[in-house]
Amino acid sequence: MAFLLGFHRPGYTTMQAFIVKRLLTLLPTLLFTSLIVFASIRLIPGDVIDLMLSQNDISTGQDREIIEAALGLDKPIYAQYFSWIGAVLVGDLGRSLWKNVPVSEQLAATLPITFEMGLLALVVALSVAIPIGIFSAMRQDTGSDYIARSFSLLMLAIPSFWLGTLVMVFPSVWWRWAPPLDYTPFLEDPLKNLRHMLVPAILLGLSLSAVTMRMTRTMMLEVLRQDYVRTARAKGLKENVVVFRHALRNVLIPVVTLVGLQAPLLIGGSVILEQIFVVPGMGSLLLEAVFQRDYPVVTGVFLVVGVAVLFINFLVDLTYGFLDPRVRY
């Protein structure tokens, strides 16, 4: 495709051609995602009109038809999809059925918050997982290795919502301290913002770190058995140079893939933790919208999540090129 588009002409590097090609292949995936997203929320029993009517005391069959027509829900589902996707393509995600504000406005308000939390969680996850994974591999089958592995298994087994609840409840009982729950925008007061966001981000990060840590450990053990590591040792290099200069980059190639695959978990986890820690992010928005069957909001959030997951995996593909010289675009 890139060839047909002429990206191999001088002036375009193969890297640029790869990026364009890769972005183009995302389009069908995105279209398919939108279909699933659009249909899935409508499959949940109980529709939005029932909910709206149940909030009013007087309701007649006529009201139902009026509301349906007003919200555009009287048309067949495929017609609804086409008018929705048509609008999406020109950047209009529709309006909330309840609040009558544009979905894009709601997303603009909540997406940066969730993005911040996801980023913090990722930083926490990697800065826990990679050093402990390396450490654990270098001390294979010693006490500290067992402790590190048990810890990671524990983090994998404990649901973060439960851990979140514990963090909310116990410190307040024991030390009369509770994590702060009042959200401050980052640009207003970064410190205050971080104080609020850090606790859920750490919990989310720890739960993600478990798998990454095990992967890092396993891969490090694998790489340390490779012939080129023996070559490095035969040169007289110190063990930490062997590990960090010779082994680590080879270890990170599969680890980066894993981190990419964990992106949906990252977003899924933040939905719950935002709720517990009263973070007004996209997760809170989604949860409320699902309860209210606010179709445009739900589809809007899902679409953003879908794009984010695809984009993260696109970044993962690009990272390979930096880590592994054998990968050529």
């Binding site: 058995r225 023996r230 070559t231 035969a234 040169k235 007289g236 290099l237 010779h246 980059r249």
Partner: protein, 332 residues
Amino acid sequence: MKASPETPMAREGSLLAVRELSVSFRSERGQVRALDHVSFEVEEGETLAIVGESGSGKSVTALSILRLLDDAGQIDNGSIEFEGRDLLHLDEPSLRHIRGDRIAMIFQEPMSSLNPVLTIGKQVAEPIRLHRKLPWSIALEQAAELLDRVSIPESRHRLKDYPHQFSGGMRQRVMIAMALACRPKLIIADEPTTALDVTVQAQILALLKRLTKELNSALILISHDLGVVARYADRVAVMYGGRIVEIAAAAALYKNPQHPYTEGLLASQPSLHSTPGERLQAISGQPPDMANLPPGCAFAPRCHYARAECRASRPPLEPVAPGHERACFGFE
């Protein structure tokens, strides 16, 4: 097994003296002895070939010298004296000063022995930077010269290339350049050509031989092929079942083998004088199971000359002629 004064084992001033080296490995079947009281010397500038089949202990010998055995391997006994110091009793930092600087290694698989994510230049320059404490720029300059010496064309441009951009033979040249980087006194080449095409094998060995001669480095050349090393070795040690069964000057060993195993190996090689269609002689039987060695000579079950004595006790390595030792009770 004790060295008597007139054996070459007692020679003074050898570059490397391995004495009574025993190594075992942990396995599911318990502790398996891989090397059993192996002794040999390497003189300065000399090429010693160690020949044997898989599992005979030749690679274990090579790795033991620099203490690069993996975690399952354990040195049980013996000493490895290099330039007057026992490598087995050195602490890690002192040993690291010897690795890559005084003693360098070349491994069997050029495909997997180079790090796929580091440039060739960096990998060749690394020991220079490490042991000579030179900045990268100068170390890379020297790396380019080394690549020239191993006949890699356009060496300066290729410094930035990665291993996958080189062929197998070229990679082994890179490995040789890396081993020569600090002008080591001893180079251990563990089956350096086994993974290569036959035509490339001879080139690589000739190159290795020429460069070690230029640097006056000693070379331990490990091979499973007695024929391959014939032209390059000054002396040859033949290993079987974790022991040296015969060691002698190359010419003497090829002309006048003193151990039935060596004799068998030589008889199994095609020569220019053999008639076409003639079958080569094979050594009957299977290589020994290292976890379950016979009580006597390890080769006895396959030996035509074996007597009751051979099955009962192990023959020690003893001189049969000046500079020629064998571990055999005698056969004729």
